[in-house]
């Protein structure tokens, strides 16, 4: 099952276009629900949004940084799921598609300005695990932009806003350049100053998974995209040992310097 999320800050607004069909053009009659953690339980609500025969349109006024959205039938939302959250997260399999993942269009925009989007999903399997995200800073940010941001989105099966850290590390110099706090189940905004946009600088998360999304803004034009996870780069069977070794080296930099 896949989840969908948005983002808002003082300048940027967002909207989600969630399809009623999968890539193979099979349609469903699900509704849209939102969920957020409250008092260590999930607060689940049916969302009333614009829709047509093909899509749900979740506009900016319905989007909050602590919410995520999913497709379901009302009778699939059982009371026990509010505390028994691991099951809650796997209500139906309509969005479990191959070879292409089921995605919604996640667009950010500036009022009277530009817009940028990507085809977005947060897989259920990611909500069950902790780990380390390793992502290059230089690939998607722009030193010449007016503003550079990273949106780090986590969805975790436990209904809380536990805090963790994101490190900006120069892998070549083996130096920590900055440390930022983020929280679980939230669309976290990380401002990135130009000094951090180096060719050897990587973002590394401490025991938390999530999707790092890179935003540059210049003259009201926007670029918005995510990086590939490291296992995308190694296709052979040694991918986990190779990536594990690199992450171990980065953890050693953190242990020695922080």
């Amino acid at each position: 099952m896949n989840f969908f999320f948005g983002f808002e800050n003082k300048i940027l607004k967002s909207e989600l276009t969630i399809p009623k069909f999968n890539n193979n053009s099979d349609y469903n009659d699900y509704s849209i629900f939102s969920a957020k953690p409250k008092n260590n339980q999930w607060l689940v609500e049916k969302i009333e949004c614009k829709e047509d025969n093909h899509f749900f349109f979740i506009e900016n006024q319905l989007i909050k940084n602590d919410l995520f959205f999913f497709l379901a039938h009302k009778n699939q939302i059982k009371n026990e799921y509010y505390s028994n959250i691991k099951d809650f997260f796997n209500i139906n399999n309509f969005t479990d598609t191959k070879p292409s993942a089921f995605r919604a269009n996640f667009k950010i925009y500036i009022k009277d300005g530009g817009f940028s989007s990507y085809q977005s999903e947060y897989p259920h399997t990611m909500t069950l695990k902790n780990g380390n995200i390793l992502s290059p800073i230089h690939s998607l940010l722009d030193e010449d932009s007016d503003e550079n941001l990273i949106l780090f989105r986590n969805i975790h099966h436990e209904p809380n806003n536990k805090e963790s850290k994101i490190f900006f590390i120069d892998i070549k110099l083996k130096e920590i350049l900055a440390v930022k706090k983020i929280k679980n189940n939230f669309s976290n905004q990380i401002e990135v100053n130009k000094g951090l946009i180096g060719k050897n600088v990587y973002l590394f998360s401490e025991q938390v998974l999530g999707i790092p999304l890179y935003i540059s803004i210049k003259n009201k034009h926007i670029s918005f995209e995510h990086t590939h996870p490291p296992h995308h780069y190694i296709l052979s069977e040694n991918q986990f040992s190779v990536i594990g070794k690199l992450k171990k080296e980065i953890k050693e930099i953190i242990n020695e310097n922080y």
């Binding site: 890539n23 053009s25 349109f57 530009g114 817009f115 690939s139 998607l140 060719k199 890179y214 034009h221």
Partner: protein, 249 residues
């Protein structure tokens, strides 16, 4: 058993039968391959393309001897030029504009292969990021999309058109976005080793192996792409006023 499962022929048979289809036809028994997505360059309509790529051998294998070769083709998959880059940073930047393309104002594809003096005994993929800037505005970035070519680092042979396809049944790829209020261009390339018959919203056309095409649409709500390719996923250029958004479908 594993050798058979990893072979190209096993993947051809799976695709022929439609059983656990393979998106790419790679002989995974060879452990020294550099694979590449097909990336689009465009210099038409006052565009330039920004290409950002990682030195994979340096990042993952701490290999100081790595180099990158980038090979450019036109929209009909005719060879244009190739460049070898040495002394790479972990992250690298290439600006592809009209001057770089010898005054060609058009579009096509390019591929990146890494190689090294050391046998790293791995299959790597560079899926990189391409940014598209029109009229010198901020480029809109999109990540790589479909593995299309490989270089065998043992004998330096390059193989194109490794995208998986069905033999009889057509596949549908319906883009999961609404285009009702947009003017859009779809950049499509054929990642397979045979000409594809492609149908987009009832318009039918042929596209040769590794060739690319831009199709324009306006005021339509959904886009459905039918072909024998398992993953014919386009790059979408969406326009509103002077603003541009580029993403993969």
């Amino acid at each position: 058993m594993k050798i058979i499962k990893n072979s190209k022929y096993s993947k051809y048979i799976r695709n022929f039968l439609g059983y656990k289809p393979a998106l790419t036809i790679i002989n995974s028994n060879i452990k020294n391959l550099s694979t590449s997505d097909a990336f689009f360059w465009r210099t038409d309509s006052n565009f330039k393309t920004i290409f950002r790529y990682t030195d994979i051998f340096k990042l993952f294998f701490n290999d100081p001897t790595s180099k990158a070769e980038i090979i450019f083709y036109d929209r009909n998959s005719k060879f244009l030029k190739k460049i070898i880059f040495e002394d790479l940073d972990l992250s690298n930047n290439l600006v592809i504009d009209k001057n770089f393309m010898n005054n060609i104002e058009d579009y096509g594809t390019f591929y990146i292969f890494h190689y090294s003096n050391i046998n790293n005994n791995s299959i790597i993929r560079n899926s990189c990021y391409t940014g598209y800037s029109q009229s010198d505005n901020l480029p809109s970035f999109v990540h790589g999309n479909t593995v299309t070519a490989l270089r065998n680092l043992n004998d330096n042979q390059v193989e194109f058109g490794i995208g998986g396809k069905t033999f009889f049944k057509n596949n549908i790829f319906q883009i999961q976005n609404s285009f009702k209020n947009s003017k859009v261009e779809l950049m499509i390339m054929n990642p397979t080793n045979q000409e594809l018959k492609i149908i987009i919203n009832n318009e039918e056309f042929g596209l040769g192996t590794c060739c690319s095409i831009i199709k324009k649409f306006e005021r339509i709500q959904t886009i459905k792409i039918i072909s024998k390719c398992y993953l014919l996923r386009p790059i979408v250029f969406s326009y509103r006023d002077k603003f541009l958004d580029v993403y993969h479908g």
